[in-house]
Homo-oligomer: 203 residues x 4
Amino acid sequence: MPDLLPYLRADLIAAGQFFHHRGWVPATSSNFSARLGAQEILVTRSGQHKGRLDENGFLRADLQGMSLEEGKRPSAETGLHALMYQRDAEIGCVLHTHSVNATVLSMRLDAVTLEGYELQKAFPGIQTHEGQVVVPVFANSQDIPALAAEVAAYLDMHPETVAYLIRGHGVYTWGATVADTLRHIEALEFLFECVYRQLLLDR
Amino acid sequence: MPDLLPYLRADLIAAGQFFHHRGWVPATSSNFSARLGAQEILVTRSGQHKGRLDENGFLRADLQGMSLEEGKRPSAETGLHALMYQRDAEIGCVLHTHSVNATVLSMRLDAVTLEGYELQKAFPGIQTHEGQVVVPVFANSQDIPALAAEVAAYLDMHPETVAYLIRGHGVYTWGATVADTLRHIEALEFLFECVYRQLLLDR
Amino acid sequence: MPDLLPYLRADLIAAGQFFHHRGWVPATSSNFSARLGAQEILVTRSGQHKGRLDENGFLRADLQGMSLEEGKRPSAETGLHALMYQRDAEIGCVLHTHSVNATVLSMRLDAVTLEGYELQKAFPGIQTHEGQVVVPVFANSQDIPALAAEVAAYLDMHPETVAYLIRGHGVYTWGATVADTLRHIEALEFLFECVYRQLLLDR
Amino acid sequence: MPDLLPYLRADLIAAGQFFHHRGWVPATSSNFSARLGAQEILVTRSGQHKGRLDENGFLRADLQGMSLEEGKRPSAETGLHALMYQRDAEIGCVLHTHSVNATVLSMRLDAVTLEGYELQKAFPGIQTHEGQVVVPVFANSQDIPALAAEVAAYLDMHPETVAYLIRGHGVYTWGATVADTLRHIEALEFLFECVYRQLLLDR
């Protein structure tokens, strides 16, 4: 089997550069992952700037989020990535970014409800602007296993979910490939800016 | 006759890169076209990111919007491009972009009326800031032929129209050349940002 | 005497690229000039995009704003540039840009009054944030000689003026060199964004 | 001992280019420094554009902020840099930037209080979003020694401080390395934009 790792790593590095250009990965926030196999993922290391990643910015981990490389520590939030790969064998990438709008909206709303936007069609299985896409907001926590359990319970009840926010902390989304997941981030950030601008006009 | 296609394609690729830099073509939204001849246009294919187009991102279509290349599917909205080329032999380019401001304004207004802006002179035949430029908003629809018929009826009544919005979906504009139409997009997006900022101050 | 023209032209081309990156020269708006000698200036031609200027984007004109190059038409607003070179032999550059904030503020205010900003020190002769810098707004007009006369009368009364706005049309500023005038534009645009953001909070 | 100077200078030049891209160092505002040794710092010269620094844009100064290079004048605000190096031998870099948000917030608030933001963890010693990070605002003054004394008195009382604002003038922050301090600027600017957007929604 040809080695996927260099291709996936290059895609995640490029995604990070694009996000940094837009201001969505400030300081050492955010983390990215992609599936290497049935039981293995590639994930960004702790403490890296995600807009300036290189080969050393990643490690291999198992689907419990434990490092498979001695001496390399995964990001604290790797458990939230691992959760998605455990839940669905079709998921090939998870991206967590940290934009101003994701932060501000998540501190004011319990969910961001998208309706009437053509760009909702950027998400899988959505053919029209007429439905609703609900992006739930979870309270922030430094206890990642507890947060992962809360997310899992929500996803069990709402399997159509395409993304979620953590309060004051940013967005998580996933997809079959890095390109698909990047498209979700781009659509979500566009829609969050629309929602923020609408909120300002609504007051 | 020298082949126009590579030149028009290069111009549309460059336009897409510029729009992406500004955030006006998120995810796989937007589509671009240019006239190749009396009965033929070049148009972006379905599902492409318009900020990262290459030679494979286009197909030739007839003025009914049907693909002239086997196995290549035009974007669903090609009918809205074809409409303009059918109506006016002088039209050489149609650009549809999808910005935050075009989205937000089209969800709140029935038309964007521009008045007193020097930049109105960027549109053909306008010599002063003193008149009004009206950009109508049409309800969004996944039924493109019905939407095209509605646009055509409006343009019959208002032949001076330089652009229109589809609600929650973005802007369409056209011109003799790619450069002219790009200038219209740049002017429209500038003016939409002005209108949004004015609306915020007006509340 | 060594030929200044290629150096000044290169500086104005680079200034235009920077302004375009910031969105301050949309479509074919804006115009730039620099002094070539006691009776001669270099000025952008009509109809050029100021973010993509090349050697052909300029012409030499006299201090009345008349072209010194057969077949090359100066921008309509060259008279507003010529006015400044006539008034003050120390002026070596005039820049007119066209930003969203300059447009919006000029449509709502009769003058933009800057006070308490450290960046006021970017203007010549200002050593503290404590004074006031007043940027007057003139009504827009397609009659450039009339507008130039109005500006001249104001400057006679207010010789400390560093810049002025034309309503819905953008800002003019000037300086001894292209670098100085570029610094004024950068400071003005920064301060206009501050003023707009303050206005939003003040409502 | 290998010479640190070229490395630190290159890091500060790159930091300035990044800040300029974001619009945080307009005109000749802002200044940067890094520690060269126990009694010596490298600091930007007066009058330079901080987004286009080269080797000539710096000078060596002592911890009193006096130039160690004949004929090169330090920026007026070097005293605010020197203060930090005097106070703490662990400080290796001080960055002062000048953004729209830092300017606007500092003109309306007596302190910017950050609470509930995950990105607070970008600052040293902070492990959770649950505490408060207070960024005090000092009145602007052209009397730098007086301002430095006021800052020093505040820091004596509040040693946990990570940054401060000067009214209408921008932000100062510091860290062990250029990379650490750059991370603080990026986090502060992100959080200031969040706070501004929250203020708009709160009115």
